[in-house]
Symmetry: C2
Subunit: 388 residues, 2 copies
């Protein structure tokens, strides 16, 4: 039988962490107490206010399709949230409620990216972002970044790497895997650079809210001519619900609406009704408490990794990741992660999942687990390093 797979499949990168997950499950099946520091999902449950709103909606029995762009009431609440948190006023017709940030990326690239056009992204970055471009025949131009620019693209890099096939640039702040924020002045310059080049600026803001020493700034503070990808998954603790949002520039509203109708009809109705409670004072107060817990975990993990000899040239500002250089111990971080899991039962993600630049020296540690478990994990890490 001939190979009928579409050619794009060979360009879609695999997650190396999946191999680790399989190994982790095998170990757990053998009774090993595996500590998960590879996971990009908060360990906290969905806030009870949101759960209760979901239950209340289900009890009504009316789980019908909503408009493709989402419940107008939810679009309105998102718009109000931007005014309150960032001081920016957003026409709610620009807001599309989507099946997770995944749906937002899908829609953003579907509406704007032609085959063979290029999106500039930092290396390291979250691998799915690049795969969404691949899906539509687009390409990613990965630009190595380091601590000197907070692991973020700069306006200078964007201008330097912009080619005739470039369509836009993506900045994720806080970044996955580095947890670093782009400084406000740099964000503004990067947006201006892309606008001057008449490209599309995609701002991945899914870790907004999970920022510990300062406040994240939305790209909307500097321009209306940007795509914003956001999600109820991380800060609002709604991963499994699959709900996020996309904000588009004015000239993309009509085409985005048509695509949304075609690509997914509408986002999960019960997730939308539940998300109506996400902006309640009670919810935000619970989320603030969690944010402080994440901050304490970050400090703990950061101090311990430094103490053990990992290099972290810039302290992460947000998200729940630390991207640490392990060159003191190995030139093969992937093997290091596999060995660490096999010997000590702690799962972490190898740098190779996030790009090529220095990836063999890098490891991503997630602090989506308790301080107690991380304390054990750090003891295991210390022993593992000493025994190498």
């Amino acid at each position: 039988m001939k190979n009928r797979l579409a050619k794009r499949n060979s360009k879609v990168s695999s997650f190396y962490v999946m191999e680790l997950l399989r190994l982790a499950k095998q170990l757990e099946a053998q009774g090993v107490d595996v500590i998960h520091m590879e996971i990009g999902e908060p360990d906290f449950p969905t806030p009870s206010t949101i759960i209760n709103a979901g239950i209340k909606h289900l009890q009504s029995g009316e789980v019908k399709y909503t408009p493709a762009a989402g419940l107008p009431e939810l679009q309105n609440k998102i718009s109000s949230f931007y005014l309150k948190r960032y001081g920016v006023s957003i026409d709610q017709r620009r807001i599309f409620v989507t099946p997770g940030a995944s749906g937002a990326f899908l829609l953003a690239f579907a509406v704007s990216l032609n085959p063979n056009e290029e999106v500039l992204m930092a290396d390291p970055c979250y691998p799915c972002n690049s795969n969404f471009a691949t899906l539509f025949g687009g390409n990613t131009k990965s630009i190595p970044v380091d601590a000197s620019t907070h692991y973020q693209l700069t306006a200078e890099q964007i201008k330097k790497h912009w080619s005739s096939t470039a369509k836009g640039a993506l900045i994720a702040s806080p970044s996955n895997p580095t947890g670093t924020l782009i400084p406000p002045e740099e964000l503004k310059k990067a947006i201006n650079a892309v606008n001057d080049l008449e490209g599309c600026f995609y701002s991945d803001e899914i870790y907004h809210g999970l920022v510990y020493d300062q406040t994240a700034q939305t790209a909307l503070m500097y321009s209306d001519n940007v795509f914003i990808i956001n999600s109820f998954s991380k800060y609002f603790g709604m991963t499994g619900w699959r709900i996020g949002w996309l904000i588009v520039p004015n000239d993309f509203i009509e085409a985005t609406e048509k695509l949304a109708q075609n690509i997914y009809i509408a986002t999960s109705t019960q997730a939308q009704y539940a998300a109506l409670a996400a902006f309640d004072e009670d919810t935000l107060s619970e989320l603030e408490d969690r944010r402080l817990q994440f901050a304490a975990r970050r400090d703990f993990l950061y101090e311990n990794l430094l103490r053990l000899g990992f290099e972290i040239p810039i302290k992460p500002d947000g998200a729940f990741y630390i991207y640490a250089n392990c060159k003191k111990f190995t030139d093969d971080s992937h093997q290091f992660a596999l060995d660490f899991l096999a010997k000590e039962g702690v799962a972490i993600t190898p740098g190779i999942d996030f790009g090529k630049y220095e990836a063999h020296h890098m490891l991503r540690f997630s602090y989506t687990t308790s301080l107690d478990k991380m304390t054990v994990a750090m003891k295991r890490l210390e022993r593992f390093i000493q025994q190498r």
Copy 2:
């Protein structure tokens, strides 16, 4: 500012029915009692067993990501359902739980369709199916079909229209908009034809279960080398939950898994837990009662449309649509639908939403509303026709 929209947007067809929906909402705002016979959504609520399973899961608070292919328990239930209902045994690794049939189509075409490759489809057919091909740079070859083939593609047509750029053929049975089933022998021949041509056979089975005088046959009864698109939306009454499934041939399992991880991470967790109850005896018994109600509605609508002078050369077997020829009254079914709504407050869908062939003579009537309301709608239709 230059036009930054991706070129594919101009190829994605609009739904003409959206214009009617806007008009309908205006009328309703003015207090007009609009009867909706344009909607592709059952009027019944989600069965209470499914709702209760959803509530019970939410009460656990653990709404985390599931594996990309879905909860193994749900994959297993779907597999058992195929054995019980159709007598076919399906390896559950071939089953991917998806965000609605939309997610299933997205995945099926993403994994198999290259840019510039063609999918053969019947004209008329559901417009989104064609737009999913467009999304990935593929094309649709629309083949006019009529009552002589139950509005379904035949093996002969597939062979005749197969070109060097053809990748596969899509058959939707029961069809939207015609409600007609492909005869079992013809389904088998069509699958064999596509397999002989080494193409992909896509079987849209989202209206299975809603079949009134016979039993629908799944393409899996004739070959394992097929893509099955199905959904919990229509028969199981779970539209707003956004959950469906895709079954792929063995050689597509690995690539489909990788794409699913990238495109949507996982399907809504609470929808999956709720859907675990979809195959319970209590649920199926409630659904059987609804099926009988739909059958009665079909008979009522069919007889009334014939009585009023519409041509329906073949009685629909399933789904909840009647595709009726109105050439006795007009050569512009789109204008007919607009006028009927404006004058009588009944919304129906013009043929132009489903293709080009004879579209100006065709109207789709949905029987997703009660017999009482349809009785009023038929009186209004009679008056409308008499006054023309």
